[in-house]
């Protein structure tokens, strides 16, 4: 029975993920005093891109064409391991959290390769930045997940989150959880290229990080990349919001509604952050990421008694 629920949630995730971007953009528009695009605008954009044809530079090789698909495949596979809405994931085994992190990393690896493949200096610069910042974000993410697994005694994502949804941890560690939440928030912003780390709407190549890597992609390729971006927003959003469990014993469909509402509330919060903050100077970003690593490593202090 649970497997059916999980599969349904998996499909729901695939379908609903672009909505997060819609919510964020809507909130940002409200803050800017505009009405803003429709919530479904990301879907329209995807369809518009899918209808177009692709243009490939002569210098590119098969990597350039394959990278978006590999990236998408990695993200979808990662989603298979992600326990959402208080349900276990479709596939889970002890230690799957390491696989989960590296699936996301391998997707990025191919995106970086494809950016280098174009031979453009701008994209090379973007790839270099992406490598640098993700090298700083990855330890933070691993530390955070390791902390959660240390508190719950489980090495699989499903195990961790099922323990958390049952509140099966001592009250002593709540401060440590607060830090993990903070660091996951920074990781969310960094991994998804949001303000204050990166501005998804900037049009100046020199200041871009993620967007500059995909300057050469067009048509369906770009649509796939955009969709994968939405999936990653969804995945990191779920990782964070699932740390605030609904009280146990509630019917499953109510729990799903609760988590969905929480996720969209969180998306609005991200919109607020993006509206009130300015993008950091490039030189200050490592400091932010160091803070994330430090915060996500702080749980260690609670364990070593």
């Amino acid at each position: 029975m649970t497997v059916y629920f999980s599969s349904a949630v998996f499909l729901l995730s695939l379908f609903l993920s672009p909505l997060i971007r819609g919510v964020i953009n809507r909130v940002k528009a409200w803050f800017g005093g505009r009405k803003g695009p429709s919530l479904l605008q990301p879907y329209y954009d995807l369809f518009r891109l899918l209808k177009k044809g692709s243009v490939y530079s002569k210098t590119t090789t098969w990597i350039f064409k394959a990278a978006p698909l590999i990236n998408l495949g990695a993200a979808v596979t990662a989603l298979l391991f992600l326990p959402s809405f208080g349900l276990p994931s479709i596939i889970n085994f002890e230690g799957d959290l390491v696989l989960f992190v590296y699936l996301l990393a391998s997707g990025r690896f191919f995106m970086i390769l494809s950016a280098l493949d174009t031979g453009s200096s701008f994209e090379g610069m973007g790839a270099s930045r992406e490598t640098f910042y993700s090298a700083l974000t990855e330890p933070a993410l691993l530390f955070a997940l390791a902390g959660l697994s240390a508190f719950t005694g489980s090495l699989s994502l499903s195990g961790i989150y099922s323990m958390i949804s049952k509140s099966a941890y001592s009250a002593e560690i709540i401060p440590a959880l607060v830090f993990i939440v903070f660091s996951l928030l920074i990781i969310f912003l960094a991994e998804n290229s949001r303000i204050p780390v990166d501005d998804p709407q900037t049009h100046l190549e020199l200041t871009m990080i993620h967007e500059v890597m995909i300057l050469d992609n067009s048509g369906p390729d770009l649509a796939i990349i955009e969709y994968t971006g939405s999936l990653k927003l969804w995945i990191f959003g779920i990782l964070l919001t699932s740390l605030f469990p609904v009280f146990p014993g509630i019917p499953q469909y109510l729990a799903i509604i609760y988590y969905l509402l929480l996720l969209f509330l969180f998306s609005s919060f991200i919109g607020v952050i993006e509206s009130v903050m300015a993008r950091l100077k490039m030189i200050q970003i490592p400091r932010l990421l160091v803070i994330a690593s430090a915060f996500s490593a702080l749980w260690f202090i609670w364990i070593v008694r």
Partner: protein, 211 residues
């Protein structure tokens, strides 16, 4: 539950103070510390609303979280300083030192034989607050930042005292509060005088007197 969240917030204010270069938010953080302190004191000791201790907590809340920060912010405006530009120890390194200091305070607390029923992690957070203040005094050059560090130190000591020794008698606490108030007041006056005389308040340049 509540006390644990307060602990986390206290630790967060400390990291904020370590990692921020702008002075106005640091002052806000130190006043937030005072609010957290008062909250923890109220819930960790069962007080009635008519006891002198309760008024004492209220008084220290007002002084530490409103009066002194407002004074410091005025000093900030009058000296025309907004941020710490050349700290002795850089901000990323400060943050890492902060993690180290936190580790030291947690491990240090574990070596001490505490009386029954003391919240270990909250005591560690108070020691960490103390260290943060000390670090700001050593690692920053603006006289105002050092004053803020002094305030943070006092906050840490106060919380440590309330949690581990149940506070002192009311008259002693009142005297300590008065000293703190007058102390920061006089520091403010001296800072303004220094600003007038030297046209800066960088204490690393106050190094004429030496052997």
């Amino acid at each position: 539950m509540f006390i644990h969240i307060m602990t986390a917030l206290l630790i967060l204010t400390n990291f904020y103070m370590l990692g921020s270069s702008r002075l106005s938010p640091i002052i806000t953080a130190v006043s937030a510390q005072a609010v957290i302190l008062a909250a923890v004191t109220v819930i960790s000791t069962d007080l009635s609303f008519v006891s002198p201790e309760f008024y004492l907590i209220a008084a220290s809340l007002v002084i530490k979280s409103v009066v002194l920060p407002v004074m410091l912010k005025k000093a900030l405006v009058r000296t025309g300083i907004r941020r710490e530009i050349t700290p002795v120890i850089g901000y990323s390194l400060s943050l890492l030192t902060g993690v180290l200091l936190f580790l030291v305070s947690v491990k240090g607390i574990k070596m001490l034989p505490f009386p029954e029923g003391v919240f270990n992690m909250t005591v560690s957070a108070s020691v960490f607050t103390f260290f943060t203040g000390l670090f700001l005094i050593v690692g920053r050059v603006k006289a105002i930042t050092q004053t803020i560090g002094y305030l943070s130190m006092e906050n840490g000591i106060y919380l440590f005292g309330t949690l581990s020794a149940g506070g002192s008698s009311a008259i002693v606490e009142l005297g300590i509060l008065l000293d703190l108030f007058v102390g920061v007041f006089i520091m403010g006056i001296v800072i303004l005088k220094i600003k007038r005389e030297f046209d800066h308040i960088d204490t690393d340049e106050l190094a004429v007197l030496r052997d």
